[in-house]
């Protein structure tokens, strides 16, 4: 049997020492990173859902306000027979609305905007008839002109 030299130490312990610690630290680091990432993703998902709820609430609030304005116009016109004067509402005669006897139709066009959040409004226009009926021509959420959501143009230097 070969004898070990007196200054040589056995390699068994020096190779394995520290290996489990390194492995554990690496595993823990990876798992922690994954957990934190999933928590961040879930947090973002929750923020998005909250924004959806806020926007939905704003839209229906604006819709209810617009409906109240329209109901006010209809009631006033049916009661008095005259075009009502309401702040923020513009009234006009709709084009092509001629009655059967050739006279101008008593119907009129009412247009108004209701704020719906920071950068958008609910644009409404309806033809109102004297019998308290109305035809809704436009009832949609529009973004304000200042908002530049979709401006994805690149600013490239074109020389002096």
């Amino acid at each position: 049997m070969k004898k070990q030299a007196p200054n040589q130490r056995p390699l068994a312990f020096s190779v394995t020492a520290g290996a489990p610690s390194v492995l554990v630290v690496l595993i823990c680091l990876c798992l922690t990173a994954l957990s934190v990432l999933s928590l961040i993703a879930a947090g973002n998902e929750f923020i998005l859902a909250s924004r959806t709820v806020t926007e939905t609430e704003r839209y229906y609030q604006a819709d209810a306000e617009a409906s109240a304005i329209l109901a006010g116009i209809l009631e006033e016109y049916r009661r008095t027979g005259t075009v009502p004067s309401i702040e923020g509402v513009t009234f006009a005669r709709p084009e092509g609305q001629i009655a059967a006897n050739g006279e101008e139709s008593p119907a009129f066009l009412a247009e108004f905007d209701v704020p719906c959040g920071e950068n958008s409004t609910l644009r409404c226009s309806a033809v109102v008839y004297p019998d308290g009926r109305c035809d809704i021509l436009c009832w949609k959420k529009v973004f304000s002109a200042e908002q530049t959501f979709f401006d994805d143009s690149m600013n490239i230097w074109s020389g002096e």
Partner: protein, 140 residues
Amino acid sequence: MSAKGRRLESAPFLLELCIAILVFSLAMGVILRLSAAARQKSDDASALSAAAMAASTAADYLRAGDEAGFCAAFSAERTEGGFFARGVLCEGEKAERGFALSVVKRNSGLLTTYSIELKDENGQALISLVAAHVEGGGAP
């Protein structure tokens, strides 16, 4: 090598292994808590999205004046001041939970206003909307 010498050499290794196991279990405790929090947050987000969808569907039925359609869609019953319905959000999913939808109806001339509130099974309000219906209004 003698038996005593082998014992002396393996002692630090065993000590390191014990510390590694201790650190690993502590770390796993923290990781499991993080994962559970992420899961809870994700479930809450799913429930909130489903609540927004359900409430806006209810609002669309009511603003169109289709109370019968609303009652049929949500199995709602008429109460003294409006409607009440119970249901399940995220049905068949991990985030499944019950909800209670209450609607308060107010009439004023041509305008009918509905205040819709959707709460989860713990009584926490998830979303509240206002829908309004105008008698005589309609699309061209």
